[in-house]
């Protein structure tokens, strides 16, 4: 079983890297790019097949280490 965690900066937290990517896309001629936010995807291989248990476990991982909830939010997908 695999868990996929998406970590993104919270709305309202300035993302200088996303801004730089937005500028670069404009330089390349891509029009209409109004905003870019950059985040992380973390894939975790898990033993067993208890999806509900895995979700709880991965949530604890996010709170303790994978995301800094001062500035970041996270979404968990069990696949």
């Amino acid at each position: 079983m695999k868990a996929r965690v998406h970590v993104m900066l919270k709305a309202g937290v300035l993302d200088p890297q996303g801004e730089a990517v937005r500028h670069a896309l404009g330089t390349l001629g891509f029009e209409g790019v109004e905003g870019v936010r950059q985040g992380k995807v973390i894939e975790i291989d898990l033993a067993g097949d208890d999806k509900a248990g895995a979700e709880g476990q991965v949530k604890a991982m996010c709170e303790k280490l994978l995301a800094n909830t001062v500035i970041e939010k996270y979404d968990i997908e069990i696949v």
Binding site: V13, L14, P16, Q17, A20, K64, L65, L66, N68, V70, I71
Partner: protein
Amino acid sequence: MKAAVITFPGSNADRDLVVAFEAGGAEVARVWHKDTELPEGTDIVGIPGGFSFGDYLRCGAIAARSPIIGSVLRHADRGGYVLGICNGFQVLTETGLLPGALMRNAGLKFISKMVDLNVTTAASAFTGGWQAEEVVRIPVAHHDGNYTVTEDQLAQLRDEDRVAFTYARNPNGSVGDIAGVLSANRRVLGMMPHPERAMVAGHGSVDGSVLFRALVGVMAPA
């Protein structure tokens, strides 16, 4: 006065911090991140600059979960002093001992240069060697020094006089030009500039030595 300086894999200012504490008059023990207890009688813990764990995941994130940190949190909880410089400041925000987070510099570039800092408060063991509003020269060397806190937290830091230093000219986009902050009990300081790199004339400034001398002179027992 006994100082303990922690070394993580990727720390690079640990020895400089040891030398700076010694210059201030402290007896210094070196501690490895896998140790689980600080040496008996530790008065202050130094968390050095560098790139602990290669800045993987987030700067300071992995170091903040290493075995020694439990002992550092207990030390802080009983009123012990902690000084985190640069990566050490990032580690302190990741442990929750200090509010906020340090993000990528607004200009996206690594910045290494001497900067002017305003000493925002003299009311701490760290800054008591200066007058409030004094301007001091201490170098910065970081890629992720863009301090971020919520508006409420910023108001609280200011109300409680916990902003220790601000940049005279903001190099990295930090909220409120903040370069260093204190804990509520004023015994934990995190700062991005490197006072341990402004100790002797050859460094281009000796202003950092004021911090270490003041600290060793006035620390109250934990």
